[in-house]
Symmetry: C2
Subunit: 429 residues, 2 copies
């Protein structure tokens, strides 16, 4: 199996590998070996329009921002604003989840303006076009789904979320369990509904080889979606979720054998004590494919604050081995995010990812904190501001709540512990 | 030892015990046994001005909000505003950390307006009065410190942070280690400076029996402060911290023997992978005294977002057994918090505490989430709003980003997964 994978995987050019190795401070041979065995997925090209970016074992935990129109807020300019804002605050990748307006045009405009890897979820557009043409999602045809996938691939997206694990068997497992929240994935619910109404298997599963052929032709990575992810902490790690994960594990191997880079999406809503176990299970069942998590959210009771509930879960999940965090904004469960929500979501996810990278031993991660701590000890506000994950926020808050003592802050002023401690003879190193 | 403790602990009246047992859904005998062996600390009285509130094994994780003046923002009305805001959004306790203005008057006004347990840090006022009277913190005298402690106790505070573990030996341990950030506790730095300048032992340690006598007389609990806590993730679990914790463990036993309720404060800044170990160590060395954590913050690089860095650490710490979380606001490391910061801090800490309570098995915790999830499945926005930790934020966001489809939200509109999934025959339970 290992040999077959090594022979067939889409080759990544040397310059791109070198760019990633340098950026990540990883030995080139190690990186190459991990790309070959599927533990690392690489997007972009050293001399291309998309910045070389990689996810997987030993690499910095990456952050994705979802943007895109909805029926209620369907404005390309707004989404381009969100794109620019997300890139400005350091989102590593973007997903365009548009479900309203001229979806092709929106995607192409976002692609043109986006210099980081771009992902998409083809089933949305396929379902929406079926509704527009035939009046119902149920009327979506297999050829139509694949036509949309090829159209999107041809536009140069880097990866696609494909809910291939929403099979008749895994949906039956979900339906026979005592799940509180059913199917909470937009794509998963569309597919399960279509499968029931047409008494048919999931086309993305049944025609997986056809799918892989398109992905390989256009050099698009497969993000195997978790259409049956739990959407309530009560549903965490249940039969539906695990049944789907098992299917995804099989599909990881088939993607690798076909020369398609592949990674796997994960939950969702998970209680704190199940997070590490979920990562172990996912990595084991999915053959160490990079793990892309949507949260996980650790409590359901905080709509308006789900950037925080997901930061808790995301940090823990990444520390346990997840490689890539999809941001969650404060608007989650309540509405389409604004640009401000996007900014808050990206920064919060970056904080979670970085907290994990410190303990994952990602090169440079702990050093960043130590530099900040030294600047804090020295009351060096210029360096503290420069090193802050959001320098603008530091400047804003320091301006609004300034201390008369410029060396201190207005919490303690002259009673600053750093100032007092520096007057001791034996203090510090 | 156990017998001695049972004989001498300040008795908690039956009605108060019963009020806590009912509120916490804990068997009365279990609660009483845990109060007696020191695993639970109770404040307030069933028929008094302070709501009966308890921290410790098996109880809901509690949240504290720090308020109080600083030299730069020294306005009683502002602090009373913060008090009311903190109570409105569900802070379980309040600490008044005022270090400017008429500190006695501020404390008394806050006490009068505060119907939950109130804590204080006497060394601040002692140091400030020494500076005012004698021109320097170094001139603080032992009698003066104890006079302040008694004055504050007589005002009816419920607990006091006492940095008794900042001993000559533990400070030497800190100074001989390679700590990045030195002493970052305001009280800790004041005491260490005083000790050095006076070539003397910490009076709160040296005269611990005198301290306990005052606490016992006024029924005030001891919150053994961690004046040597790490203030950088690089300093987590270092010699200085652990040396102090060992001292605090000895002092826990002496407090119990003297009939004084006692709990222990903990870090601080700690990397994610050291949090569970810190809780185990703290509980073991401190004889299962309730553990009150100040964070922990899991990365240093996010000033402006330390409510989030501490939510990550606090959730994990509470899940591992910490009993009581001191909030951290977005203003931490940058300035004195505003009322908005206080609100954000309390809600964020409550989210972290609740995420932990789900996995701690605290009665009612998981049920809250399940009710929310059922309302979410049913698209019952009235119930979702009522159950939200911040209903006002749900209403505000739903108002600003409303969907034309009142059953859905503006993220998906008619493509809501809940709506689609409900049309499947086999869906749900």
């Amino acid at each position: 199996m290992q040999m077959a994978v090594q022979q067939t995987l889409v080759p990544v050019d040397e310059a791109t590998l070198q760019a990633v190795a340098t950026e990540e401070k990883m030995d080139l041979d190690t990186l190459q070996a991990r790309v070959q065995n599927g533990e690392v997925v690489i997007w972009g090209e050293a001399d291309g329009a998309v910045k070389p970016t990689a996810i997987g074992t030993g690499l910095r935990t990456k952050v994705n921002a979802n943007i895109g129109t909805s029926p209620d807020f369907s404005n390309l300019e707004d989404e381009l604003d969100k794109l620019h804002a997300a890139l400005t605050v350091g989102s590593d990748t973007i997903m365009d989840l548009s479900i309203s307006g001229d979806i092709d045009r929106i995607r192409r405009e976002i692609r043109a303006a986006c210099d980081v890897p771009l992902g998409i979820v083809p089933i949305y557009q396929a379902a929406i076009e079926a509704q527009q043409r035939y009046g119902s999602i149920d009327k979506m045809t297999v050829d139509q789904i694949f036509e949309v996938i090829e159209r999107q691939a041809a536009d140069g997206v880097d990866f696609m979320t494909l809910h291939c694990g929403v099979t008749r068997r895994s949906v039956a497992a979900l339906d026979s369990s005592e799940r509180v929240c059913g199917i909470v994935s937009r794509g998963g619910s569309m597919l399960a509904k279509w499968m029931e109404d047409n008494n048919a298997e999931n086309p993305l599963y049944e025609h997986y080889d056809r799918l892989l052929a398109i992905l390989r032709r256009y050099g698009v990575s497969a993000s195997l979606g978790d259409g049956l992810r739990p959407g309530a902490v009560a549903d965490g790690s249940d039969r539906g979720q695990i049944s789907e994960t098992q299917v995804l594990g099989e599909l990881v191997l088939r993607a690798r054998e076909s020369g398609v880079q592949v990674f796997v999406e994960g939950p969702g809503h998970i209680p704190l004590d199940q997070i590490a176990g979920n990562v172990i299970l996912q990595k084991r069942l999915c053959h160490n494919a990079p793990f892309y998590v949507l949260g996980p959210i650790v409590t359901d009771i905080a709509p308006g604050y789900d950037h925080i509930t997901s930061a808790i879960g995301g940090a823990l999940c990444a520390a346990a081995g997840a490689d890539y965090l999809c941001y969650v904004t404060p608007a989650e469960h309540l509405g389409l995010p604004t640009t401000d929500d996007v900014v808050e979501g990206v920064i919060t996810a970056r904080i979670a990812a970085h907290a994990a990278d410190i303990v994952k031993g990602v090169p440079g991660a702990a050093q960043w904190d130590e530099q900040m701590s030294r600047a804090r000890r020295d009351l060096d506000w210029t360096t503290m501001t420069e090193l802050a994950i959001d320098p603008g926020e530091v400047i804003r808050r320091r301006g609004e709540r300034a201390s008369l003592d410029p060396a201190a802050c207005s919490m303690c002023g002259k009673f600053c512990s750093m100032k007092i401690d520096q007057t001791r003879h034996h203090a510090g190193t």
